[in-house]
C-alpha cells in the first residue's frame, strides 16, 4: 500500500463502483431520453475495469494512481464519457504529484474542469457535465481560498452546488453531444453526464466525511472531524422533476 492518499482513493473507488452500478439503469434511462442510452452501462463497465486494477493501484503514489483511473476509463468506457471523464482525470492527475491536500485538491478540480471544457468544447448552459462541474469547482475554490473552510466542508458545499447545477440542466436545450440532435425534445430532462458527475462527487464526499470521522485522512481533516453524518449520500437526485 502506498500511503493514506492512495488508500483514500481506493475507498472512494469502491464507493463510486457501488454507486454507479446502483444507478446504472437510472443513468441509462436518463440517457435514453436525451441521447444514445449508453451512459449508465458505459460508466459501469469503466468503473469495473478500474476496480479490477485495485491491487496495482494500491502500490502507486496518488498521482500515478489517479492517472491510471483516467487511462483505464479512456480504454474501457467507449462513449463520450471515456474521453470526458478519463481524459480529464488523466490530465488533472499531474496536480497531485506532491500528494493530496486542500491546495492540490483544488488544483485538481480546476485542471479537471479546464480539460473537460476544452475536450467537450462546452460551456455552462450547454446541458452537459460542465453544468455540474463548474459550480462545484467555483464553490470549492471560494470555500477553500476565501472562507478558509476545512476541505470536507468545502467539498460538501461543492456537492450542493453540483446538485443545483444538475437541476439547472432540466429546462435547457442541449447544444453539445447527442442531445443536441433532439432540439426541444431534450428540454425537461436532466443531463445524464451532469447527473453521474453529481453521483461521483457525492461518493467522494461520503469517503472524505467517513475518513475525517476516523481522523485518518490528513491532519487538516482530522482537526475538523466532528459530527458529520452523511449529509451527502441521502440527498440523492431521484428524477422527480421528470414527471
Amino acid at each position: 500500500m502506498s500511503g493514506e492518499d492512495t488508500e483514500a482513493l481506493l475507498d472512494a473507488l469502491d464507493r463510486i463502483d457501488a454507486r454507479l452500478h446502483d444507478e446504472q439503469d437510472y443513468l441509462t434511462e436518463l440517457d435514453s431520453r436525451v441521447g444514445d442510452a449508453d451512459h449508465g452501462n458505459n460508466l459501469a463497465r469503466g468503473i469495473s475495469a478500474v476496480t479490477e486494477k485495485r491491487d496495482d493501484i494500491a502500490e502507486m503514489e496518488i498521482d500515478e494512481a489517479v492517472k491510471t483511473v483516467g487511462t483505464t476509463l479512456i480504454s474501457e468506457v467507449g462513449g463520450a464519457a471515456g474521453p470526458l471523464y478519463g481524459g480529464s482525470i488523466m490530465s488533472a492527475s499531474q496536480t497531485l504529484e506532491g500528494g493530496l491536500d486542500a491546495e492540490s485538491a483544488l488544483a485538481f478540480a480546476e485542471a479537471y474542469r479546464e480539460k473537460l471544457m476544452q475536450r467537450g468544447d462546452a460551456r455552462v448552459g450547454d446541458k452537459t457535465m460542465v453544468d455540474a462541474v463548474t459550480p462545484a469547482v467555483h464553490t470549492f475554490q471560494r470555500a477553500i481560498e476565501e472562507d478558509d473552510l476545512p476541505p470536507v466542508d468545502a467539498l460538501a458545499k461543492a456537492v450542493d452546488a453540483a446538485r443545483r447545477g444538475v437541476a439547472y440542466t432540466v429546462p435547457l436545450r442541449a447544444s453539445k453531444g447527442r442531445a443536441s440532435y433532439l432540439g426541444l425534445r431534450a428540454v425537461g430532462h436532466r443531463d445524464p453526464g451532469a447527473t453521474s458527475t453529481l453521483f461521483v462527487l457525492e461518493e467522494l464526499l461520503a469517503t472524505a466525511t467517513d475518513r475525517a470521522g476516523e481522523a485518518s485522512v490528513t491532519d487538516a481533516y482530522a482537526d475538523d472531524a466532528v459530527a458529520r453524518d452523511g449529509t451527502a449520500s441521502d440527498a440523492n437526485a431521484d428524477g422527480t422533476e421528470d414527471a
Binding site: 444514445d36 449508453d38 458505459n42 463497465r45 479512456i74 480504454s75 474501457e76 467507449g78 462513449g79 463520450a80 464519457a81 471515456g82 474521453p83 470526458l84 481524459g87 475536450r119 467537450g120 453539445k176 453531444g177 447527442r178
Partner: protein
Amino acid sequence: MVGLLVVSHSAKAAAGIVEIAAEMASDVPLVAAGGDPDGGIGTDADAIAAGLDDADDGEGVVVLVDLGSASMNAELAVEMSDADAVLADAPVLEGTVNAAVHAASSKATLDSTLDAAEEARGMSKL
C-alpha cells in the same frame, strides 16, 4: 502517401466507408476504427490510436469522424499516438472519398488532403 483513418460509432459503418473509398483510391492507406471496446456501438481511443499507426506511412494521417464522442476519442488518440495526424471537420463518408481521391495523387500533402476532406462540407447532392 498520406493515410486516412475512418472513425465511426459502428465497426460496420467504418469498414463500409473504407470499402467505398478504396474503390476509387486503392493505393491510399485506408484504415477503419469503429465500435466500442466490446464491439458495440461507440468509439475506442485505443483502437483509434492503433489505427493511426496502421494508416501512417510517414506522411501523416487525416482522421474522419462521425458523431460526438468520435471526435473526442480521436483527439485523445492523436495526442497518444506518434503519428502526425489531423482531424477533418467534414462529413465522414463524403470527406473520406474526396480525401482518398486526392491522396492518391503524387502531389498530395497532409494539408492538402485535409483541405480535400473538408471541401466535402460544401458539396451539393442535388
